[in-house]
């Protein structure tokens, strides 16, 4: 089994559309503990990705992921831009080095997560997108090869978002709020969940 170009294209398309559709929610989450632009930022970035979708889907997967990464870096305009950008750039780079989809998904995703952590000088537990990305990576490793892998990844992402609410932010703008960041879901965690679940939905064919 190998990932087909059409599957890849519709997967990117769905992910972008879902992020764009969730912009109002992301913005309102960022209004509570940040500067209220995460929705606009992600929308700008993924609209740019959609604009290049045809070109992207003609590239080999590794190049396609790097193009997405570079596009996000160049268009998002918030801290999340270089973070998500680095994720896709590193994931593409992993594919350029003997990794293949779908079988090496955990390794490829792991490269992306490491890149976010390095770029953000952050780790899970700091109330950021990593609090979704890291648990998702764990599930990708632990449930590899299981028939319900996709469903478990989706559930993991949803649960991980909720677990950011009681956390106190120590990275990003929300960290300015100190203890008052507690009680709110992190906007970047939510956007990561939207992306991950869109990929799951696309792969399961329930678009």
């Amino acid at each position: 089994m190998s990932l087909r170009p059409e599957t890849f294209k519709s997967l990117i398309k769905l992910a972008a559309e879902r992020v764009i559709a969730s912009a109002p929610e992301l913005t309102s989450l960022d209004q509570a503990i940040g500067d209220g632009d995460h929705g606009f930022n992600m929308k700008r970035g993924f609209e740019a990705v959609l604009g290049k979708l045809d070109a992207i889907s003609e590239q080999p997967f590794d190049e396609a992921l790097k193009t997405i990464g570079k596009t996000l870096v160049m268009t998002v305009g918030g801290a999340s831009g270089p973070l998500y950008g680095s994720f896709f750039l590193a994931a593409g780079e992993a594919l350029s080095h003997d990794k293949h989809l779908p079988e090496d998904i955990a390794d490829v995703f792991g490269s992306g997560v490491n890149a976010v952590s390095a770029r953000g000088r952050s780790q899970a537990g700091e109330k950021t997108m990593l609090d979704v990305l890291v648990p998702v990576l764990e599930t990708l490793k632990n449930a590899a090869g299981q028939p319900d892998l996709i469903a478990r990844v989706s559930t993991t992402a949803a649960e991980a978002v909720e677990r950011t609410a009681p956390m106190r932010a120590t990275k990003g703008r929300a960290s300015f709020l100190g203890p008052r960041s507690v009680g709110h879901i992190d906007p970047g965690a939510r956007s990561s969940c939207v992306l991950v679940q869109a990929v799951c939905a696309s792969l399961e064919g329930k678009q």
């Binding site: 160049m74 305009g77 801290a79 831009g81 270089p82 770029r119 953000g120 990003g172």
Partner: protein
């Protein structure tokens, strides 16, 4: 002019970036190259990697370039911009861990004295608590 480290000012706000450049220029005249950018790709508050790349190239000096940033996203985007430079330039650019306005004035004044990139960065960072 080419003997002084260049200064790049990266703020979320184009107004802050411009005003900081004005203050720097009032202090050091044209002895030091100063470039600035601010605003996300739509012109709202935020930063833009491609504008940062352009600013670094505008302020380019053989002695290197020191970047002053305001909050988190400006720093992350600046670091990203440095990595997007042509390889020979990357090691000659530093992002200072210093307050943007005060750090830019200190950095530029130090640069005007012909100091090295490391010295310029160190002087700007004296202002920072962490």
């Amino acid at each position: 002019m080419t003997d002084a480290v260049g200064i790049v000012i990266v703020s979320h706000s184009k107004d802050i970036a411009k005003g900081t450049a004005d203050m720097v220029r009032q202090m050091v005249g044209s002895e030091v190259k100063v470039a600035f950018c601010g605003g996300n790709p739509d012109g709202g508050l935020g930063t833009s990697v491609s504008l940062i790349v352009d600013a670094i190239n505008d302020a380019w000096s053989a002695k290197g370039v020191a970047i002053l940033v305001d909050l988190g996203g400006a720093e992350t985007n600046s670091e990203m911009a440095v990595e997007m430079l042509e390889p020979a330039r990357r090691d000659l650019v530093v992002v200072c861990n210093a307050p943007i306005v005060e750090g830019a004035v200190m950095a530029a004044t130090e640069a005007a004295g012909g100091s090295s990139l490391a010295q310029v960065k160190a002087v700007a960072e004296e202002l920072s608590a962490d």
